[in-house]
Every structure is written in structure tokens, then in C-alpha cells.
């Protein structure tokens, strides 16, 4: 097992999936380090996960208040220095509010919260978080959000497509009206990745989505975490 990688998992007030993300890190062979929103110290972590939830209730805009947390200043600096950062769902929203990733998320086109097992295709396997997938591979991970519709202006979208920065795309059904079926993107350097679906909910047999081996056997999300651990220690 690969060991030694310290992956920080940030908790904001209203974060929900922090314990799930920490479990995913552990199952992938890393050490999960809890980071607190009010503490600017990153505790010497090698990478950071911003987990899902409703930080500050999503009341102003999803992620809008969290991006000003003390810990975010340190994360933005570290990310600009090349440290791998993964934003999941609300974490993705925080990354866009912090301008580490372009675009934004608005309310789902059908206006409802949606929870489903979502098929994605992996389109970029050069990022720190996706190098253990193959291009075009179809994976199934849970999706659950209220404000999950990815939007950006046409120029930005063209740029993302042109530079191969769309990391995962919705397949079979676009669950929230996201532009060009975009489910997740990366920055130009490939160290910062944000996505709306929840890979940390598809890491353990018995508790994930349905998979080819039977009900709740899907573990397609685990390689997000194994990828970064592999790139850090390997």
C-alpha cells in the first residue's frame, strides 16, 4: 500500500461530506488530516480536498462565504504553487468563487435537489487526480446537488474544451443543465480539479452505487484519491 501522503480535508461550517472524504483518503492508502476553516495553517499536507456540503447554508451563493475563510488564503497560495487541490460539489463551488477555476454553478435547470447514480466519462487523465483512469472510461458515482448547473461564457467554455480541461462529462443524462454536459474541470496546470459528482461516495463495496458486481458494489471514485496519492509518493 502507498503510504506517506498527507491529504488535508477541510471543514467549513455546514460541510457535510468531510468524514466521507477522509474515509476515501484512508481507503486509497493516504493519511487524512482534518483542516479547520478558521485555521490558516495547512499542517504540512501534500494535497487538499474541499468536500461537499452546504457551507454557510449556501445562503448567499454556494461557496461564496467560505472562499473568504482563513484556510482558503493558504490553499489558494499553495494551489498556485502547484499543490493538488480537489473540490467536490460545494468544494467545486468554493474553487470557482475563489477564482481557482473558471465559471460558476447555478440552480439545477429542473429546480429540484437531485440525488442519483450518475454515469460520467473521464476526458482528461493528466491531472493529479485522474491519472489512474483511462481516456473515455465510463464511471458511475453518486451525484447530489441543488445548485449544480455549471455555467460559463462561451469563450471560457471554448477555451476549456480547446485546452482539454474538461475532466469529466455527464453521460446518458445531463442531471442539472450544465453547459456542454460538463461535470468537472481542471486548471491549466492540472493540479486543481473541481467536480459536482461525489467520487468519495463510490469507494467502498457495500456502500456505493450499484456496480457490475451487484448492488452497491461500485468503487469507481476511489482512483481520484489513489491518483493523487500515487503522484505524491510515486
Amino acid at each position: 500500500m502507498l503510504t506517506g501522503a498527507r491529504i488535508g480535508v477541510v471543514t467549513f461550517p455546514g460541510t457535510l461530506d468531510d468524514r466521507d472524504a477522509a474515509r476515501a483518503v484512508r481507503l486509497a492508502g493516504g493519511e487524512a488530516v482534518a483542516l479547520w476553516h478558521a485555521d490558516a495553517d495547512l499542517h504540512a499536507v501534500d494535497a487538499v480536498v474541499l468536500p461537499g456540503g452546504f457551507s454557510y447554508g449556501d445562503y448567499l451563493r454556494a461557496g461564496a462565504i467560505s472562499r473568504f475563510a482563513p484556510v482558503m488564503g493558504s490553499i489558494v497560495d499553495a494551489a498556485n504553487g502547484g499543490m493538488p487541490v480537489l473540490g467536490i460539489c460545494n468544494g467545486f463551488q468554493v474553487l470557482t468563487e475563489a477564482h481557482l477555476l473558471p465559471g460558476s454553478m447555478i440552480k439545477n435547470d429542473h429546480l429540484h435537489f437531485v440525488c442519483r447514480e450518475q454515469v460520467l466519462s473521464v476526458e482528461n487523465v493528466d491531472t493529479a487526480w485522474t491519472r489512474l483512469y483511462s481516456v473515455g472510461e465510463r464511471i458511475t458515482v453518486p451525484l447530489k446537488n441543488q445548485d449544480g448547473q455549471y455555467v460559463a461564457d462561451e469563450h471560457t467554455l471554448d477555451e476549456l474544451e480547446g485546452e482539454g480541461r474538461v475532466v469529466v462529462r455527464y453521460r446518458d443524462w445531463n442531471p442539472n443543465g450544465s453547459r456542454r454536459d460538463i461535470a468537472g474541470i481542471t486548471n491549466a496546470a492540472g493540479n486543481v480539479v473541481g467536480l459536482m459528482p461525489h467520487p468519495e461516495h463510490a469507494v467502498e463495496v457495500g456502500f456505493g452505487p450499484d456496480g457490475p458486481r451487484g448492488p452497491r458494489t461500485g468503487t469507481d471514485g476511489l482512483r481520484f484519491f489513489a491518483s493523487v496519492i500515487g503522484s505524491l509518493v510515486g
Partner: protein, 798 residues
Amino acid sequence: MTTSPTTPSPETVSFDTVANAEATPDQEMPYAELGLKPEEYQQIHDLLGRRPTAAELAMYSVMWSEHCSYKSSKVHLSTFGDKTTPAMKEHLLVGIGENAGVVDIGDGWAVTFKVESHNHPSFVEPYQGAATGVGGIVRDIISMGARPVAVMDQLRFGAIDHPDTARVVHGVVAGVGGYGNCLGLPNIGGEVVFDPSYQGNPLVNALCVGVLRHEDIHLANASGVGNKVVLFGARTGGDGIGGASILASETFDDTKPSKRPSVQVGDPFMEKVLIECCLELFAAHVVEGIQDLGAAGISCATSELASNGDGGMYVELDKVLLRDPSLTPGEILMSESQERMMAVVTPAKLDEFLAITRKWDVETAVIGEVTDTGRLVIDHHGVKIVDVLPRTVAHEGPVYHRPYARPAWQDGLNAATLSGPDADPQHVRPSTPEELRATLLRLLGSPNLSSKAWVTNQYDRFVQGNTSLAQPDDGGVIRVDETTGLGVALSTDANGRWTKLDPYAGAQLALAEAYRNVATTGARPLAVTDCLNFGSPEDPDSMWQLVQAIEGLADACQTLGVPVTGGNVSLYNGTGEPGQIDSSIHPTPVVGVLGVIDDVTRATPSGWTVPGLSIYLLGTTRGELDGSAWADVVHSHLGGLPPRVDLAAERTLAEILINAARDHLVDAAHDLSEGGLAQALVESCLRFGVGARVSLDAVCARDGVSAFEALFSESTGRVLVAVPRSEEVRFVDLCTARGYPALRIGVTDDVCQPGAGVAGAPDEDHEHEPALEVQGLFTVPLAEARTVFDATLPSHFG
């Protein structure tokens, strides 16, 4: 805002005081407006030896309401305790009477769970009513020292096509989801039922389950003289003032606007922060006890904490942090502002306590302390406004022996049967293959049997990463211990139609089904919670239904060996004139059963995943169609008697299912309930898209029933199981050894055979697609069934 209990005073203070009450004994008090009867007001007068102050009147009125005092149901609810044997208490760590019961599930783990209603508020303002219903039950669980790990919701709405139903459905579903999703609690199951009897009286019940170690159990009481009383969480505003006594107890009436309270608005973000804050307070051992603030707010929390403790309590009400500074003392005491908690803290640990609430940005105020006076004394700006014996507020309210009698219309209802020689011939039964097939599809697409995915897809079932089974499986299953896989299963059930036909049997049938569902997942049933939703206790008909249901449930719990650990009663669910058959909602005793399973990865799902499994039907089918989904959907009929209850059989069946899951003998198991065998077969096929080929011949021959009865009867004690060929001998032995009827009725299959079923047989283009094939009768391609099953709710609600 609502009626103010404040009385103008000739003194310098603008509010009523104890001194003023003594000086002005003849002052008229607005007790009637606050929902108190003249004799109740006299009782308060006698207890105090003077007239109550406005603040005292506010406290007594909310705490003596039906909602808080259980004054009409108390004498009957004691049946649950009386019928709990010492053996049933084996796994009970905390029983009825606390915020929620606590059950030992082994390895030092304990589980606490409870179901509660928020019915009337959810009609007035569906989103906030449902949201705050979830919030309230979650705080009950936190106050026991447990981490909440899952929620379920039991919803009853009016007719699906009634103009007002969509408003209520959209609000309630969004409210349950909006609040629960924001707390990070997986929603693992529940019920959605449409019936005209709930028009104007929707039922919104919410269940929460929490997990803790034995040593972490905390009971809410105020003990230890000098200990501090601390209020923390949201600020106190005018939310729901009067709601506890007026809204939740009496028929709300638009013609009396002064009684219409402002609704409570929930802030799930605040609640999520409170959950984490409370868990950290418990873990740091800086609290003696925590009490949640729900109905009756500070009145309830202070009087219950003091009454449960060994001394008294002194409170300075002006220390309470207010959102609305114009609130009178009485209003502060009655306010139902959400997301507030009250803690008892030793002085030595107060600083540490405050550091933790500060870390979570939770506003906190020390508002009083525990005393040795035995009295609850409340001052406001240095003047005494309350001086009472706390137990007279909290626990010694009025108790009523309401008159009850079997309704005059009950015999006529029971005589209107669809079975036997007395059956009305105009209720035609389907008989041809085409008719049977059409009936199956009609039931499948009916509101109550159709897919609830439109609802459940708006709830997060993945968060926390411990969900092993969730809707649409028979029960929700949650992992408790990540090392061993130890976990719990939960299911709730209530059939209002059956309970209307026979409230005693109806309550037992609800328990039997929830118990069976838990066993179907492979878990061993341990304990029960209930939410009794009934009509007005002042109507002898409704009261009789309530008494019968309590008796039935208590007797059945004793037979099945599972104790009631707590719950809730919701009365006044009716808008009609008393004495009529349609005065109230169908009596709806929602029963929740909790079970334990050693390894949740062995939990049995409700559908089959592979072809080639043998399908067995366990149990006996009788021609029981009264009160059935068929009677409802096809004939809009309710009459006769509900299916027979056989609790001994349920117990045996549960043993078989638990052993079969533990020994890996079954791949799938699904309970037969509304819609009978036909509905169960379709659901098990649709779960993972694998079809089945079955024959009814053996069932019809053995049980002496027609194909129609075999398909649509709702006899209880029946479960479908899918058994791998390699395990068939062992499985059949398991049933035979216990004398339980088990019949192999078919196999699972992922392609259908051309021409095998008569009606609806696939043409050549579709003969290799999965289908449900009832040999000699009909074939239903799963794609067709899926379309019918999925369409109903979206077509009404978008």
C-alpha cells in the same frame, strides 16, 4: 403576532409580576384565548394559591396543551409500559419518557430513535412545517448524546388530483429534503400515501436515528445546586408563538386571525452547526445534560429540566438573546424559535463550554442556575414573574378520561365486504388474462403503488457513507461500526384504510409489516417507536379508534417481544363534524421498527440481480381483498375487514429470513403488502431490471384461491425470496423445520420466452428483453412496467 398575554400594570414595569398578581387577584386573564378550559384555569389558580401571572399563564397554557401534555392519551399510553415485560426490556437502556428511547445493539454500541409528527404546521406552510419537523426530531436525538445518522419520513397527502395537493406535496418534499440534505443525514426510507381523507390534514411524520456508545448516554435533567443553565443556538424570536397550545391542539380556523400564529422558520445550517457543537460538548465532558427546545420552547425546557432534576431552577429571562426585542416575557417563554438548545453545566466547566460554542460561532447565554428550592423561579429585569413547582407545569397537568365508543357507522363499514357470499356483485373481479394484466398495470401506475423516486431522488441517501440499503428496499440499513460492519435496519408502516376498518387490527398490521420489513433485510427486530395520528379526542369515535389502536399495538408488541421505546401522539386531525364516518383522517398509527444486523454487507436487497435464481413465496394466500389496493384503485371501495393478523407466523417468518440472510441462502427478499404478489413481483423485477417467469398454479391449488386472488390478495405473513440453486435444499429445510409454508413459484430470468404468457406476449422484436411472465396468463415486458411505474408522480408534480 398573536394574542399578547401581557397585562397592563399600574407599576413601573410594563409586564405582569408575581407581586402584581398577588395585588390584583381579580384581574381577568386571557386563558381561553390561550386554549385553556375554565376548569384548567381554576386548577392553575388552586396550584398557585393565587391568579397566575401572564408569564405563568403562558407556560401552563403551552405545557398543558394536548400536544405537550398528552392529556387525552396519557391514561391509555400507559398500556405500552404496562405490557412491556422484563424480557422485552433486555435491550432497553432508556425507555419511554426521555427525549427518545435508547437500545443496546451490542459491542458497547447503542442506538436511539424516535418518530414525531409535524402535521398541522405542514398544512399551513408546507415547506417550513416539514423542514422544522425534521429539525425537531433531530434535536431530540442529539439531546440524548447521540450522533444522528439517518432520517425517514412518513407522508400522507390528499387525493393526488385535488387542486391543493400539489402545493402541499411540493412544499413538504422540498422541506424534508431541504432541511435533511443540509444536515448531512441520509434519508433511507419512508412512506408516501395519497388518500382523500388527508385533504386539509396532511400527515408529516419524521423519524431520526442516532448512534452513541453506552457510556455517552445523557439524560436531560437539572441537578447539582449551583450548576449553570445555558441557552445556546439561534436567538429567540416570535416564531410559532401559541403554536404549541393552539395550532397543534385545536382546529385552526381562519375566521379567528388572532389565534393564527406566526410560523416557525428553520435554519438547517444553524442546526448542522449545533449538531457538531453539541457532539463536541458531549465529547469534552463539559455538560451535565442537554435539552432540546421544541414545542413550548423555554417553558418546556426549564420546567422539564427542573422537574427531572433534584432541586429547583432560577432563571433571569432578560439574559435570553432575542431576535425581536419587542417580545413580552410570556412570548419569550412560549416562543418556538428553532435550532436552540439548553444545557446544564458545572461552573468549573463553563469556560471550556463557552470556548466550544465560540469555536462554532454559536451564540450562548448563561440564563440561570440550579437551586435547592424545589421551585422554578423566573425573574425579568430583576422582578419575579414566575414562581411555580416545575412538575405541575411539566408532568402534572390535567389528565382526561375522554368518553369513547365504537362508532355507530362501524358495523355498516365492516359489513360492506368484497369477499364471500355477502359481496356486492357490482364490484367485478378481473378473470381473463387480459383483464388480470390490465389490473396489474393499473395498480402499478396508481398513486400509492407507483414509484416514489420523484420524491426520494430529492433526498441525499449517500452522505456519511454508511448506507447499505435505502428506499425502495424494504427497510433502510445503516452501518454503525466501520470495523465490524455492525448496523441497524429501520422500517416504518401504517395502513390507514385497514385501521379504519379495524383500529385494533390495523395497528397490529402496521407493526407486523414494519417488523417483517426489518426481518426481510436480514436484521433482528429489537424495538418500536410510534406516531399515533388520529382525529379529535373530543369525538368519541376518534377516541375509540385511538384506544383500540393503542391496545392492539401494545398486545402485538408483547407477542413479538419488541418494546415501544417512545413516540408521539397527534390528535385533532380532522375538519368534519364529530360522529360522521368522514369526520377525521383515516386513523394512522405509524409504527417504526428498529432491528440489528451483525454485518450490514449481508443485508438482503429487495430485487434480484441475476437470472437463474429460484423464486419462493413464503406464507399462505387467502382471498383477502377488503381494504386492498385493488378495492381502492378499481372500485374506490373501503369496507369489510382487514387481512387476518397472525403474529406467531410473523415471528417464525422473521426467524427464517434472519437465518437465511446470515447464512447467505437468499439473494433477494421482498415483503408482500399493498398490491399483493403482483406488485411485489414487479418491484423485485424492476429493482435491477431482471425479469421472472412464475406460475400461480401451485399457489392456487394449495391455498384454494383464484389466479386473481393469488395475484392481488393482501394476506400478511408473506415474502418473496430469490434463492440460488446451490442453496435451495438448505433454504427449504429451514422453512420445513419451522413448519412455514414455502412454495417454489418460478425463476428469475433476463429474457422472456416467446409465447409463454398469453396476454401481452412479446413479438419477435422484444422476445429477448426482460419481462415478468405469469405462465399461461400474461407477460409484462419490464420496459412497459417501468414506464407505467415511473410516470405517475412526475405527471402530477413535474
